[in-house]
């Protein structure tokens, strides 16, 4: 176990000290800043029918967690999808091949170091989302659990998912990076299309590796119950519009609990 931790640490340090990591971090931070638009902005990021939430801790926590889950899954894949390939290219892999480390342990170390690389970015984005709360929100109290819970329940599992997919892709497709990128991009679009479909029309109801569908469904139920609407679709992403018909609603608490993870 101690050896595995040392292996993960070495791999993690090598990758987080790279320019690719810093560039990904910078882009993600900028995007995180835009996940919660100013009240008078002409775009939305998460919208339930015609509703967006008031800028309290619950709404900002959920929106930034969901958007990070989706956005970082996409660009994070390109950041981490080279861990095995790098070992082959540098011939460090040649040395590793002469050691007693098993294939399983080696690949597990790659998955976990991928995960920790993404986890580092998520941690900084979480901090950024709290800053955005203090910047955008005026009338609501700060509740740390409303930030941490959605990140733990939505974002972290999706980061683990993409960490596994990146290693599996490298194992089965080797150095054919372009094919890996195309297949992952296709998978990403299928998942996003599935997530944004109307309730009951999804291709696969439980095919939600980003963990956002469960949240948007509960948000829709909340809007329908509290505002007597029949909303059945949520939109995610940067949706630009000049219309000023968006209504505000008050989400008071987290939609999800740790039981969701099970």
């Amino acid at each position: 176990m101690k050896h595995l931790i040392t292996i993960i640490k070495g791999d993690y340090l090598q990758r987080t000290r790279s320019y690719a990591f810093l560039v990904t971090l910078a882009i993600t931070l900028y995007m995180a800043y835009t996940f919660v638009p100013p009240v008078d902005a002409n775009y939305t990021t998460v919208r339930i029918g015609n509703y967006v939430g008031d800028y309290n801790s619950a709404w900002i926590g959920h929106v930034t967690a969901m958007m990070t889950s989706v956005f970082l899954t996409l660009i994070g894949f390109f950041l981490i999808n080279n861990s095995v390939k790098k070992d082959v290219e540098t011939e460090v892999g040649m040395i590793i091949a002469t050691t007693r480390v098993s294939n399983f342990n080696y690949l597990m170390s790659k998955v976990l170091s991928n995960f920790f690389v993404l986890l580092s970015i998520v941690g900084i984005v979480l901090f950024m989302s709290i800053l955005v709360f203090f910047l955008r929100s005026k009338d609501f109290p700060f509740e740390i659990t409303q930030f941490i819970l959605p990140y733990v329940v939505v974002t972290l599992p999706s980061m683990f998912f993409v960490s596994c997919v990146a290693v599996v892709a490298e194992v089965f497709l080797g150095r054919r990076s372009v094919i890996q990128y195309i297949l992952f991009f296709a998978l990403f679009n299928i998942v996003m299309a599935n997530v944004q479909m109307k309730q009951g029309t999804e291709m696969l109801t439980y095919f939600d590796p980003f963990g956002v569908k469960v949240v948007t469904l509960q948000m829709e139920d909340f809007v329908n119950a509290h505002y007597r609407e029949e909303v059945s679709v949520a939109s995610m992403g940067f949706v630009f519009s000049d219309e000023k018909m968006i209504s505000r609603c008050l989400f008071l608490k987290a939609f999800i609990g740790l039981s969701f993870l099970l």
Partner: protein, 288 residues
């Protein structure tokens, strides 16, 4: 400790062999593998290091079949590949700790061992700098240090002196000589002087075949009494090269001093003491 290789072959395509019916027994001490590029040295080393599998033949260490039980040699193996790469963003300590963990080496003595090895390869003063900032020779020395992390009993160095300056070469040779008492060291090079100074035995390879193996004395004996030098006109040099095994030439104004190997020396030739380089060049050319 004995590494026995019998009738080992590695076939890449129907007609391309990396090794052909290669048999050799390697005991404790330093074995120098000499051969031109493409001779099969790296192929042999990769098979012994269990990175590559032979197409046929057997490979045993103390009676253990290394194809079936690769971990038997892996726990006592140190390996430096030919084109050794590094993690450029780690410093020397971090990189060696990483490789040590891969090798299953740890415990309280690890830090002291890493420092001892960094002293040994003369990198202790730059050990906290990222390896990406090192010169080629410094990276090569990190490669040597990682090979020694697990106190190996079988050491394989594929072209270890590439990129090392003369002083570092001497340091490397001393390091290896100290280790040679109780382990098998296999060292490949096409620089004869590297092998000449430290190898107990020499194996000369060409085209995937073992041409000869023995002590340096035995190998040199194959050309003893056949090495000559003479001065010839530059205009006759090409013709001379066609009819003799020329191993070296030195230009001197209108004439050229030629060192050659022959059973029947030309007139005005002087006999010289044969060297390993003479034997190597003669044997690899003779089998062309």
């Amino acid at each position: 400790m004995s590494l026995v290789i019998e009738n080992l072959s590695k076939k890449y395509t129907k007609e391309k062999f990396g090794l052909q019916n290669y048999s050799i027994t390697i005991e404790k001490g330093i074995l120098g593998l000499l051969g031109p590029n493409g001779a099969g040295k790296s192929t042999l080393m990769k098979i012994i290091a269990t990175i590559s599998q032979p197409t046929s033949g057997s490979l045993t260490l103390d009676g253990h079949d290394l194809v079936k039980e690769p971990n038997y040699i892996r726990k006592v193996l140190g390996y430096l590949p030919q084109d050794f790469g590094v993690y450029p963003n780690l410093n020397a300590y971090e990189f060696l700790e990483y490789i040590a963990a891969m090798k299953g080496v740890g415990g309280p003595s690890l830090k002291a061992r890493i420092e001892m090895l960094l002293e040994g390869v003369n990198l202790i003063e730059v050990a906290k700098r990222p390896i990406g900032t090192y010169s080629g020779g410094m990276k090569q020395r990190i490669g040597i240090a990682q090979a020694l992390l697990n106190d190996p009993k079988v050491l394989i160095f594929d072209e270890p002196t590439v990129g090392l300056d003369p002083e570092e070469r001497v340091r490397f040779r001393n390091l290896i000589s100290d280790l040679a008492h109780d382990c098998i060291i296999i060292l490949s090079s096409h620089i004869v002087s590297d092998i000449e100074t430290i190898a107990d035995e020499v194996a000369i390879m060409k085209g995937g075949l073992l041409i000869t193996k023995g002590s340096q004395h035995d190998v040199i004996k194959k050309v003893e009494g056949k090495v000559f030098e003479t001065l010839i006109d530059n205009s006759l040099l090409d013709e001379f090269k066609r009819t003799n095994h020329v191993v070296n030439t030195i230009r001197q104004k209108d004439k050229t001093r030629v060192r050659y190997i022959s059973d029947q020396p030309v007139a005005e030739s002087t006999s010289y003491q044969a060297s390993l380089e003479d034997a190597y060049l003669f044997l690899t050319k003779a089998t062309a």
